[in-house]
Symmetry: C2
Subunit: 665 residues, 2 copies
């Protein structure tokens, strides 16, 4: 198992190096450098190539433990072509360790040879003596387990007895012998992995969650800055839509120096409220609450009220400062100084963002900075927050996130981090490898059926599915792109259906989404009169709201566990490039979606279903119930007709079918 | 770059952890656990994903050195999507080390920003001051290189001078500044790989060689045991066929106890010569020479005579003993003892091989055994042997081979080991990962076009092509399988063409192959009257010999370097399942083969050439010269007709075309 051993004499460790090879362990992220993600209680199949020289049998076990706990070994089984498998099911959240142990299995080798020789009539007394020796040696090793030792010694004696030939079937047929020999007959040096692998075991919301983002300051009465108490009053609306995570943009005091005005104007008027991401003012920084939102007690009231309604609060971690942030005066060493003594503001040349001072994660004082930032996270954890949406993590040092997340989760493994890394694919993936549980994705820009199919196949198959969990957002306060800028209700519906059914985690920025806000600021892929820079007033009672569809989708997700995971996603061929057909399954729960990505035009097609994926046999009748439109059809065989017509009053631009099999006798 | 860092405080190493990520290094075997193979003087492109947080530029270099030598750094270039590449060309054989160094490139970042700001007219004095600081800091670091330091300091002064705006173009346009800053401006902690990678750099015969195997004892006059001197007399025949490696089965004394008779008979007659693989007798063991073959001087005579004719001797390493081997008495601890005190002979229950005692590589005395075996190899290296064909390496401890080969090659990197591991695929590959330069393959049993295509695609693409080099043998003394058992000359020709053109290394067991010996012993996939157990007399002058074709193939291989490597192999579509069309290219040298794998029937087809692979444009005329049959055809475009007719006197069941482009003006 060692790398290129350039030595001039064999190792002098005493025992010969282990003979069994263990390779190609799965699941695996970058050869074990990063943990594999899974959910608590979920089954995970561990595989490895296990083999040795020669013709002897090998045996292998997966060893697992919660970090710091006791190791447990589970036997692996040979699945052919030297591939060995075992299924584990981690039963608590947090970091787990995984190793593989493999050894030459002298007992199984002897058993096989003895059986073959006995069948061929060439078994000799010495063969039985070898078996007896194996049993006796194992009995010695089993000493502390007295009952085991005694049983093995008895079997050894039988093989050495006066009638060994008749003893052989009795020994080989003994119900306990293989089990006892698996435990006690290991000889020689066992092989172990050259590095222990890690599993990051999460609670369910780390993969499956429905997020609603709102700006609290817009939820008061018209013309007054909204408060946590105002939001608390509207929580039944959000909970009623079926969401389970309520995400608030930064709730901290907002800087005044270089504050941005409405529509991102360079100069703010005295009444402009500023961007919540320009964090820090005289009132405090990342652990303070904006006075206009309320007090810490108001925050706790909102948190508790949300919890009563099944909503978990998610806060924003935006590790950057306004020029007014207390850290600027207290810790200038945490920022990058320019030769003229000024602090470097954010820029993307030639653009300048003078309202934001980035923190310098590589400062010589990085230890005190990192520790302070961990303190911020811990502050909100102590306030009962367990979910964080991290703003632009890709502009902060990657080793910082590796350290921060591992550190926080070592103490509180239920904390979930969502990465808002709209950046290059490898950076996005590296953040996930380093610990982020969930990530925003390119879904927001993937609109054609072929783009979506290719992207989802990448996300839901190894290796990506082993470390990256997507969260699909049709919109965010920062991003308003086609097809939503057209304002078509069908387009909004299509994007909602895709997000909610393709990905186990989805979210919307509301009420802009369900109220189908669709006007972009000229020259920007961003909303006009964006809440990032001003208060808005929303009419939640508007007749044209998409709220009923959003609610329906969330209820379907709650009722159908097939939609609560990503790995079973399967695309089915369909002979119209504007339609996407896919299924997700979880045991008997089968969801089949057919979505029109050209939703303002009628599209029809024949879907060519992979019946095996759906658990349907060629001879089965099956009924597809449209959980959106309410209609049902009886289908049979692979090829079935679908039609999605935008003019129809009762139909959405998608079918979300539950598939029910009517098995013939 | 570290694995899951579970700590409760940031590292206290002083400097912040490196910000640049280096991932997905290629070429790579099992994440760097085993070396990548390449040939001396060959170009190897090293790739890695390199990126960091934020918007600063990164830079990366490949660092390489022969093990123990001095590191050299070569810049990597960005090839898009965060992938970085550099091409290296190791210039001596042996183990090399490879690392990647990557850092935040402050100079390139500043250069880019300054250019953008200058273009937009927003460049400020402080921006120039930042550049001047970078140059001055680099000048300080370049101190020992005085000329560099002075040049950088001068540039810094210009940016700080009275007319900095006009200085900017001069500084950015300086011819040396980027080069100097690449060397001297590195700040912060650079990233390195978490383990240094290894390259195993071989001489050309480790990939490209033509082997001829013969039993010296059959090369004397009829009815006398042949000698090394007899073989020496026939060397012009072997060299004339164009081979460059002459491989001899074991040349050691042969055991008498349980000696096998002709045709593998359990009992030998007194005149039976026995199998050369039953090594060891009163006359000696693995370092002795069978007295009937001659003396050590005769061996040296043969070796030197072969060298004069361009033939390199390859010896057989068969690490097993006859019961008469001196080790059995001197070192019983190197064998496995049974409870009755006897030594365990080889068996594959219910079959017994009582003429062979396997060595016990896991014995408690493994160190003295391994050292003795290394001594055997060194003995023959000292006798001028640099190529070993290793018998059944898969029945000996894999860590033993890892150690032995690395140890031998650390002293003599020109030694080549060919693995005769006809075993399961993962074991075969693991032997190659552990150091075997070449390996026998499943080619011997792959006969249909689709089987061959699939197998060759596996062998010639990563990751397999990074560690495994095939040697294709149509026959061996142990293996006589269809299609050769039919005795058809066309079948022999097809197998020779496939082996010699698909694989850069090929070999035959002769003269059985070229004389088209085709009778199997009933019930065995082995020759009747096999030379393994008896002397044979061969009539090399037989009219029906395939020698002219074998000679032609070896000469084509010498003249066309396209055939001397494996990685350029490309299959072209052909509309007849009995034909295989493939090309190999090396610069302007282009070979295109069309082979009939149903060679006793006429097969015709249209070949649909991937012209780009051949360097041919749609508008080109090109001429295909059949290097076997001698005819030429002028072709144009992708689709061309071929016909291979067994009845034709002048044609072989294959075309081996050299492709010559006639470019239009």
């Amino acid at each position: 198992m060692s790398a290129v051993p350039v030595t001039t004499s064999p190792s002098d460790s005493g025992a010969a190096p282990p003979r069994v090879v263990v390779e190609q362990v799965t699941p695996s992220v970058d050869g074990g450098r990063y943990p594999v993600k899974c959910l608590v209680g979920e089954e995970l199949t561990v595989g490895a190539d296990v083999f040795a020289d020669g013709h002897e049998s090998v045996a292998a076990a997966v060893a697992v433990r919660p970090a710091g706990g006791d190791w447990r070994q589970l036997p692996m089984r040979h699945a052919g072509n030297d591939r060995w498998l075992a299924t584990i099911r981690p039963d608590r959240t947090g970091l787990w360790e995984l190793d593989i142990v493999a050894w030459i299995d002298a007992w199984t080798t002897w058993r096989h040879d003895a059986e073959v020789k006995a069948d061929a009539g060439v078994l000799e007394p010495v063969d039985l003596a070898i078996g007896a020796q194996l049993l006796a040696d194992a009995a010695d090793r089993a000493g502390p387990a007295a009952a085991d030792a005694e049983h093995l010694a008895t079997l050894a004696d039988r093989l050495r007895g006066t009638d060994p030939a008749s003893a052989l079937p009795a020994v080989l047929g003994d119900e306990r012998v293989d089990h006892l020999m698996w435990h006690h007959a290991r000889t020689g040096t066992a092989t172990r992995l050259d590095r222990v692998r890690h599993l990051d075991v999460d609670r369910e919301r780390a993969e499956c969650s429905a997020w609603y983002e709102l700006f609290p300051r817009s939820w008061g009465p018209p013309d007054r800055h909204g408060t946590f108490r105002d939001v608390a009053e509207h929580l039944p609306y959000v909970a009623g839509l079926g969401f389970d995570v309520l995400y608030l943009p930064p709730i901290h005091p907002i800087g005044r120096t270089h504050r941005k005005g409405r529509n991102n104007a360079t100069a703010a008027t005295p009444t402009d409220v500023g961007s919540p991401w320009a964090i820090g003012a005289a009132e405090g920084g990342h652990t303070a609450i904006h006075p206009d939102l309320g007090t810490v007690d108001d925050f706790r009231f909102l948190r508790d009220r949300a919890a009563e309604l099944g909503l978990e609060l998610a806060l924003d971690l935006a590790f950057q400062c306004s020029p007014d942030h207390p850290w600027v005066a207290e810790h200038p060493e945490w920022f990058r100084a320019r030769p003229d003594g000024t602090i470097q503001y954010a820029e993307n040349p030639p653009k300048k963002y003078e309202d934001i001072y980035p923190l310098d994660f590589g400062t010589a004082s990085w230890e005190s900075l990192w520790t302070e930032l961990r303190g911020v996270v811990q502050h909100w954890i102590d306030e009962g927050v367990r979910i964080f949406r991290v703003d632009n993590p890709h502009t902060k040092s990657l080793p910082f996130w590796d350290w921060l997340i591992a550190d926080v989760r070592s103490r509180d493994p239920d904390v979930i981090f969502l990465s808002e890394a709209f950046t290059r694919p490898k950076v996005m993936y590296r953040l996930a490898k380093g610990g982020f549980d969930l990530s925003y994705t390119y879904f927001t820009w993937r609109t054609s059926a072929s783009e979506l199919r290719a992207y989802l196949q990448e996300l839901t198959t190894p290796p990506v599915s082993w470390f990256f969990r997507p969260s699909f957002w049709p919109n965010t306060p920062d991003i308003l792109v086609p097809p939503l800028t057209g304002g078509s209700k069908n387009a909004f519906a299509t994007r909602a259906v895709l997000a909610a059914t393709l990905s186990a985690s989805w979210g919307i920025y509301g009420p802009a989404f369900e109220l189908m806000e669709s006007t972009a600021r000229p020259g920007a892929d961003e909303y006009l009169d964006n809440e990032k820079y001003q208060l808005r007033t929303w009419d939640l009672t508007r007749a044209e709201s998409l709220a009923p569809l959003v609610q329906r989708l969330n209820h379907i997700r709650r009722d159908h566990r097939a939609l609560r995971r990503n790995r079973s996603l399967h695309f089915h061929p369909v002979d119209n490039p504007h339609l996407l057909a896919y299924s997700k399954t979880a045991g008997p729960d089968r969801i089949l979606c057919v979505v029109n990505v050209d939703p303002d035009r009628t599209q029809e097609a024949t879907v060519d279903l992979d019946l095996a994926v759906l658990g349907v046999r060629e001879s089965d009748d099956y009924v597809v119930h449209d959980l959106l439109g309410g209609e049902s059809w009886r289908w049979r065989g692979r090829r079935n007709y679908v039609r999605l017509d935008p003019a129809s009053e009762t139909r959405w631009p998608a079918h979300v079918f539950s598939v029910e099999i009517e098995r013939r006798r």
